[in-house]
Symmetry: C2
Subunit: 514 residues, 2 copies
Amino acid sequence: MTETATRKRARGGGGAARRAERTAVRIESAKFIERNIPLFEVLNEEALEIIEYNADTLLEEVGVNFPENPKALQRWRDAGADVQGDRVRIPRGLARKLCETAPSSYTQHARNPERNVEIGGKSLVLAPVYGPPFVRDLEGGRRYATMEDFRNFVKLGYMSKWLHHSGGTVCEPTDVPVNKRHLDMLMAHMTLSDKPYMGSVTEPSRARDSVEMSEILFGKEFVQNNAVMTSLININSPMTFDDVMMGALEVYAEAGQGCIISPFIVGGAMAPVSVAGTLTQVLAEVLAGIAYSQLIRQGAPVIFGTFVSSIDMNSGAPTFGTPEASLILYGAGQLARRLGLPFRSGGSLCGSKLPDAQAAYETANTLNAALMGGVNFMLHSCGWLEGGLVSSYEKFVMDADQLGVLHRIAEGVKFDENAQAMDAIREVGPGGHYLGCAHTQANFKDAFWRTNVLDYKPFETWYEEGARDTQTLASIKVKKLLSDYQQPALDPAINEALAAYVAEKKASMPDAFT
Amino acid sequence: MTETATRKRARGGGGAARRAERTAVRIESAKFIERNIPLFEVLNEEALEIIEYNADTLLEEVGVNFPENPKALQRWRDAGADVQGDRVRIPRGLARKLCETAPSSYTQHARNPERNVEIGGKSLVLAPVYGPPFVRDLEGGRRYATMEDFRNFVKLGYMSKWLHHSGGTVCEPTDVPVNKRHLDMLMAHMTLSDKPYMGSVTEPSRARDSVEMSEILFGKEFVQNNAVMTSLININSPMTFDDVMMGALEVYAEAGQGCIISPFIVGGAMAPVSVAGTLTQVLAEVLAGIAYSQLIRQGAPVIFGTFVSSIDMNSGAPTFGTPEASLILYGAGQLARRLGLPFRSGGSLCGSKLPDAQAAYETANTLNAALMGGVNFMLHSCGWLEGGLVSSYEKFVMDADQLGVLHRIAEGVKFDENAQAMDAIREVGPGGHYLGCAHTQANFKDAFWRTNVLDYKPFETWYEEGARDTQTLASIKVKKLLSDYQQPALDPAINEALAAYVAEKKASMPDAFT
């Protein structure tokens, strides 16, 4: 029994909580990835030094904007920056110096302590798609997302063995007023899953609501002393830190909660068309953002974020799974590690409108790069479709299945006597086969990663079963998961308190849809 | 004007050849990849030494079989091996010592010297799918391959910018007698493409035919002094070198022609279920095979091959794009480099029956691993479907498009002043955008890899155009390529001599279909 679990039981009190825990169905859930393999690094020392020098030059000469945020400007002034209007010019070395107080890794706690995740170091934590206003499934096609879709995606995330994190805006529940949907979204993550989650960032007040609801779930003291959320703070590239996002950052950093500080870049539009130029801007932006988080509260847990796609120069459309995006990911990972910060990038990114081959090529290119490039927190690791406009039910389970591949590669190669298998080779000898040998019998169950979605059957069997493609197989899997879903146990008193908080907040303001 | 071209013109003689060259349509064809990025290596020094030690132990204690090949047994006896029956036990260190005379890289010449490829070192040469008895396309479905299909795939390979090599058995032309189809296949590669090709290995006599036809195409003396073929010699794993394959190897090695010496392994069936065990067997087999090639002729150009899939323990089906296969690829690449030998692995390997998302995930996993793992020669780099039973028209162009991604990643990151783009960032500044800035205007044309198949259009446009998936888009591309195809120029005298050779050979024996 872990400490957190004991605490929760003691607080939740009594037989109802215990009964709920006993009757809960246990789901299979992998621990976050701990890499036992090297990292892939494309930049040499000279290149890294050029980028770091150039990023500091940008911060000093060009500076960054913190519009409509006098408090932020005052913090920067106090720290020694040159502030004129909204523009903050940061003397060479200052931003890097300020980043030093950010932790190199942190634990994000889940209400089920078995699902706690370590963010940083050799870890890779996988969270689902974030942000799409649309959903798509095989039968229903593409349509606006609703709260029912949102709950379904939280359930799918909870049921997905290789997903460590419940995420945040798994889709935008467009049928709930904009100013109230964060409450329903948080309620869903807190009650339908026991994996860690993200807080709201669309208004500072909603970030405060996220903290308060977390205090109900975890206890106030626990939230004061531990990170229980990791939320997504986008930088408005190039070089602009808008007041709403900074307002949310201020709430979370002050509360000691985790944030991803992430440039959002379509290369060629929000950054130069060159890899080196984009990396320079990314570093300058992240340095300024993380420095600011530490001006809010020293030691606030943060992640060096890099969301980069390239652009199709014919149409202006963002493109994903491209070689330039992979090179930027590899380089940004190196820059993050030199700062001693956790790194966020990657995801099941694709531009395709359907969960077809294009979607899978683009996704696999990015997932592989994220594993090799040392990503510590991978948002969008399953379910992303159509440049992030769509959360796809089928792609969610297809991608989530592929995340198992990353787990296995990250384990590296075992070299004990059993793994060396010399006795097996001696036993079988030239011309034999290994299917029945003792070593195979003893090891086959765990020897190979197994898919839960893909089809390995012989052609004839597959044909007789309807010649189904991956999307069709995934659709069946989606239905099975949602039908098998059982809610994880939660102390009824906490559930009630959360519901009361949500009801009270909703009643306190009129609906707003913008 | 290169030396080879001059030679050919001089030999082919006269105006006809010159006229043919002048009127030929020039296709866009990328140079083979030269990696400007690091390699991904999963095994540490200790692990490598264990595998190398164990492989030598296997060769010494267990040995390998060279059945029905008294000449090979005599060669091994003469070299100091312990030969009993078909079994060859090789004293520790002997195989490695014999491998030392194999070149670390070699040039495979094409009849168009611009298409010569360098195999080894930092290079990556891409060749298409090899071996499937079936083809599939969108309209025709899955069916036995014919010679017409074969010619179509050679044409598609010739038209594919990112493919450096015409390959060998791009599909099995099942409508041509088994004992004669190699003649038509070689004729197709030699006349419908000007990229380098592979020779026949299904009978030693067919390997000799391949050499003789190459002598007609390149000139006898040229073939004696240069590698103009790279052919695929599979080892019958575990540890068996069958006489037909060895017979072909003997022909090619004696002629100084290149061969891939490649274990063919479904892990769990032809090798242990563990990665380390499989790597040990792979190394032992390749050591024995390459040592044998050098016993035939010192300096014969050879490639360290590794074809590995894992097995689905439920169905016994081979599986592709799996994490275990990637780990084996990475490890085998390290072993090959320690031997100073070119390395073959990877490919557009997949188990899917359709060119769908499963096919693309599996393919992308393997293509990425092949690039990172230091593959020098990638057979099956496009068009592979259904575990190698099917050559897919659509997947051929879909995969070939993705090969462009590998080219771009391999270039690495540029760091000149233009790439640093500091002026661009200064010009645009916080809150601006880069679409119209001077740096973007000057660089956008070459800034990003561009697909020729995938769809980047906005949803509405894509929907109005028929909501086409990747397979459908690829089908259109296939038709366009085949319709645009124009045969590369070839001296009519050579063409005639090749046709005469084929006709004479065909007339010399009755048809055989087994």
